[in-house]
Symmetry: D4
């Protein structure tokens, strides 16, 4: 029992008489007694993250071995928490699947997940907009993460600013989103244009797509930080996961 | 009539019988007929901004003469819209006050404002956190902007990470905010620490405070973009206004 | 006699019998005998520039004293060539006016000019588009330069991408230009959007307008170099003069 | 029917009596009714590009799978438009050839093309100048692109500024070009020198050729942006395609 | 006899009558007569390093062949000095083991060592703190180096600032260290927080862990250089070895 | 009573019978009851810094008004703590002197201090080495800070690496220091050379002295971070204060 | 006959009566008639380089195919000129050897050469100094190039500034050189120290050796450009060839 | 007696019988006994520089007060050495003139000098080439320095690469120089072109002249480091003095 939703479910069960008070009390005391983190030697799994921030600890696969990833994922899953691993290779997925056979691999997004019942639903729709076909991996990292965090997600891809009619034809979908994630490489102009069309907050994600003076996404990053549209905030280059987390926090308000 | 709130007020007046249908119709038709922007030669004032984005066009004082600023502000005010001028010098304020005597100057924040009745209230509190005394100008730009946009604002200043007890003693105020703006220069570590303590979205504002390898705020900016806490998004260096706009959009959801 | 136009005028006079062959011959031989440049000690004035490139040597005022500027301008004017001085201060203008009383000062553009009869007309219209009010100095440098070089110039200012309707309402002017110069600071997204709407070549000029991560125009420069629209080429930050020269060369083809 | 040329051909056929009015009308109405883009899920093919910009949508191969490239190319070809794929690997070519057997692969230029009858001819010659043998890939990307877009192309390679006599011996070819593309790595000085010799507009392409302080083409890029010759504009590092597009737009004026 | 400790051991033997004066004198004269370095052609092994700096010359494996590494290591070992090779591949280890069978390979730390009796003990404990699991390689380079240099080492891993309770629960270990090495990538905020909690000097090591705007460790490096906590000094990115050397020098004071 | 030294003095007075137990107890209880920081509105003065870190909070004058500086200094002095203000202008000194007449201004170092009896003595000598005459301001900031923190300080100035004999002639002073601070601009090579000559830890301070490619101290900073001598750690550009703090922490071990 | 030396040899043969005037005249006329460069399509071999600059055209192997390299080398050799190919792979060597069996491959220096009789001798010794073992590839590129250009070369390797005694012990060799090339990575301090010890001009070559904040040689490059010793000039990172060319030009004065 | 020339003059006087042996011996012993440097507290004047490097210590005025400059200059002059102060303000000159009335101020070059009889003559001519009028200050710093160091100097100014005929018309002067200094800002292409025309070594000096993407001389610096002409070496931005020192060392070989 490591999430707000699990505590609320338990209390509602008690209120409905489906669970007796003693059992509920024991479960709650166990949860409170448990150490807030678990020391695996090479990692300290943060089991209170979900209480503090509404979603259990997420595993960044980058720079960890498959064995390390699998051990951390198992520790999370055993507490009844949902598992989310980003930047996961196929090898990492294979290692995780040994312990968690139900885990799913989204290869476009490089994400491994197993959703348990600890995630509460967001209120509106998160729209993920991508400028070009080459930005899809980052856009999918954002979209899959947002879905796993309990949000309805709509996707609108390949609507770069050099062909504005492709974007302007989709104003209904733009306006019906509660939060918008805009993923773009190259000059990173799309968030400014999108933000000028809507009143929803826009989370901009620069991608490392491009060549030459794109400098691995720096051009897009700078474009977004200097946006002349004032409803835009920015996350790190290629950080679809971070954008989805911010968007999900907002969508759960 | 250039904001959502003004349209709603009018319809509610009609619903309550306080306004007859013909008058309301005429006012609405006038508003629809009006050009969406006004061409001053050197500037095109965007009178539909408020309809699209919930707040009228804001004037960035940087790089404009006092006379230009006053002309744009007057055009906004005459439509019944609230005026907000950022990066405003005292000279700009003097120029504006000729046409808008009720305008107020917040010298700490370098902001000139005149609030009219076109702003709707946000739902919760926006907390503005600043790492050091030197960050106050940017923090005040954020706080005053957020207030003018209809939000309750709480301020928590000089709580840098080198003296954690100053921050940890204020967890109640941290946890009661709906959105948090964190302003920090130097290494820009404060947003990561704050985000780890709360479930509210955190908007990080790097400041240009520092010297040497702070490179005018770049160190703080990079620190925030690379935050290991996943609920953080970032705006441009010293862009207190932008952070407040994003926070206000979220707080009005 | 230092420009193509002057040679052509002379030949046409001969053809029409308005000038006898001996006089024409002597003038041509004088021109051919003249040294192609004049050595002022601190500068070598290039009197053949006009023959090679269609416009006489232009004086970049930056880093030269008013006395140096006046001496160079005088040497140019005495050959019958038009004078164009960019980045000219008021003090430079005063120094030039002593020798060339007819010279004009465009203070917005920081340009001193005196047009003589050596400039041929361009074929179509050059449209100068500027994203914001703060970009006007650079836009005016481009516009005044293009006019002096014999081009019809149209101006379209304050049409940034955060309020697209201001730009989309001007498609007729966009489409009727033969060449378009787009001036923008901050994220520099406007050239991509403009280029997507027209078939004219677009010359993009980043400006140093902005703050923080705009890095004195670098963000806009990178945005333009990475434009996803393929009809865009770029000149140096704040180089309105260079953009106008390129546009004028194209417009004279 | 997606290009200006196709519309003109049809009207000329009608004028010459070779096509009856009803058939022409039906074809035109079909073209107008067609959606301006086609949604392939991962990409939105822009079928109106040719009408707006004189050449159909071009496919940037970088970052797309062979299957994605082939699908986009097929959608373009089926509308009767010419196909141009840049940064194409041999694998991409194989995938395209399944659907479009007539496609050609230029391995030096890494380009796949299939020219249909929708391209109008440019007016003069585009000269592609390259500083060194190592710059040939980028120079060929420019030359092949310009040819496919309907231009006569002349090539002048290995004429770097350290051996000026190699360049000065080719002034006739330099002066007979209507537009010049100059491709150079290392210090990127060649465009300045070339522009000083001609009155044609010069499009400069920095290449990533070099080592050490060339920083992947940044040295050449900066050299070109700071050119002391004023008829030079610049595109992104290694962007031969972009330079050819700009040159072709100019050459069709 | 190449270290201070060896000289002191000899003198103490003499003082205790365990070694006669003549033998001692001869050994000392031999040591003094020996050239201070040995020229291997491609390398000059510095045999006086230990006398000057308390630890023999260390071999940086990066950029050397296994054969070169083995030759240098052998020259060091033959003088009776301890061997320490950093950035050592498995192949380098194999080459070293031929000549020095007792050498040990720490694969996590990429270090090969063979400790002889020339190392004196440090006074207190060096604590190595690491922000994340991905920083372990650098942290282990620091920890293993410090151990070989004669220090007691304590390790505290995966205590990043986004989950402060993991760090705050270990204050006893933090306060009992004489010197602290803090290893962190991404935003590099951990040294500031640690330094604020203790009075020990903190040596900060940025790591290249991260992606996008971490720029291979630059973000962490800048964060540490701009630390608002004043007891922090910094070494190069990924330089666990350098941090350990500094810490060991301090711990031997 | 806010420093370790003050607590120890009190206990020793009790042990010697100079202070009765009741008075001592009351003073201690008062100290414990006092809030660890004092909120001045714009600043939170950290009164426990001395207990945690051996020296009271230091005021960075940069970016604060004289009035703010004086208010913070007064709050510190009233608790019996020593005052240290860095980057202090003459105006700041005047403001401080109103409340603290005994304060001293070191204009070379831009430091204001008032030493009270709360500072314990360091064990050895801190040597401050400076490469050139132009580095003196930073060197003096380090030397004065170290002195105020209770350390003996020796100064060795103008011993840059281009005239090695000036440095090599001072080996006795180099070798007798317990900690060495090396201040250098331009190429920043001096710390490597010094560190190779001694076994003391070296704290390197790059300065912004230089021009052109020194980039405000970046060249020196990089030189120091890449030092081939392994006993060097680095602080921010021009941060003489930070180097002195680190050196003092070490010298008090 | 493409070098100054060959012309001089011929004239001396005539003067000594070893060659009759007619034969000499014909050979000279042939040489004068020959085009100064040869167009291979992808390359223009500059056969007058030797006349202008004292050494025939050198082939930079980087970015050229083995076949291209072999074709250029053959064209050079057939004119009787010495061949020098830098950055040559083993494959390039194999391709060259087919046409020029006498060619030699220096694998440490990655150089292919074949020396013919067209090179004149330099006057003194060029000393190549290298800071570390890892810098050998660049140092050897310089040494082998200088030798082929007719210079006596002395090598002094692994004398970095952290162990000054290794350098100071070699002052005789330092002082007997006419020109000194200093190769160093990391902080690049060695040229400053060497230049302070001698009166010969020093050519500094930064290498890309290092990690982290060495940024591929940028730290060393900046260190050398900011050298406080005034007899130092610098070439590109890893450009041993360029340093040798400059040194050889000087040594032939 | 602090220079090689002074020693040689004395010996020649002895050889010619103009000076008796005892006097000569005493003067030599005095010179040998004198400390090699003089400690002024804030500076250590290096009196052996002339013996080691052929010219006495030079004073960099940047960052020193007029009083410091005058004190150092006096110490140098009193030993009979020539005085050279670079980056000297008029105020520094006034301070120097009090002690050395014969000193001369070159305001274009910002240099104060007083030449004594300790300088030997160089062998050939040093040619200083400058690209534009704005580069004159740096070019004059180089020219005046070279003259004071005993060299014949020729000046060739305003011969930028955009008007090649201005340079190509001066080949005689180019070819008659023994060493060439080339000063250029903006794209820095002139050294490559000059080096391709001559066999003399070229010392390139980038200047900070330019704007926008010239980045204070970085563009020119990179252009020169990446020169495709191999006889070019480079000094720091605006370092005319350094270039002259290198050129003078070469010209004295």
């Amino acid at each position: 029992m490591t999430s707000n939703k699990q505590v609320q479910d338990l209390l509602e069960q008690v209120a409905r008489g489906e669970l007796d008070v003693e059992t509920a009390r024991d479960q709650l005391i166990d949860a409170i007694r448990a150490r807030p983190f678990e020391d695996l030697g090479f990692a300290r799994v943060d089991h209170h993250r979900s209480v503090r921030q509404g979603f259990p600890e997420v595993v960044l696969g980058l720079g960890k071995t498959p064995a390390q990833i699998a051990a951390i994922a198992t520790a999370i899953a055993e507490r009844g928490s949902s598992v989310l691993i980003t930047r996961a290779t196929a090898a990492a997925y294979e290692a995780v699947r040994v312990a968690i056979p139900q885990a799913t691999y989204y290869s476009d997004a490089a994400i491994v997940t197993w959703r348990q019942r600890d995630v509460s639903e967001g209120k509106g729709t998160i729209l993920v907009v991508a400028a070009g076909t080459s930005d899809l991996a980052v856009a999918e990292e954002a979209a899959v993460t947002a879905e796993l965090m309990g949000n309805r997600v709509d996707r609108l891809y390949d609507v770069g600013v050099a062909g504005l009619h492709r974007l302007l034809g989709e104003r209904t979908r733009l306006e019906s989103a509660r939060v918008i994630i805009v993923v773009a490489g190259m000059e990173g102009a799309l968030p400014s244009v999108v933000s000028g069309l809507v009143s929803a907050p826009v989370i901009a994600v620069p991608t490392s797509i491009g060549y030459g003076a794109s400098f691995g996404g720096v051009a897009a990053l700078l474009g977004m930080l200097n946006s002349c549209a004032s409803g835009v905030s920015v996350v790190n280059i290629d950080n679809g996961f971070g954008a989805a987390t911010v968007a999900s926090l907002i969508n759960h308000l």
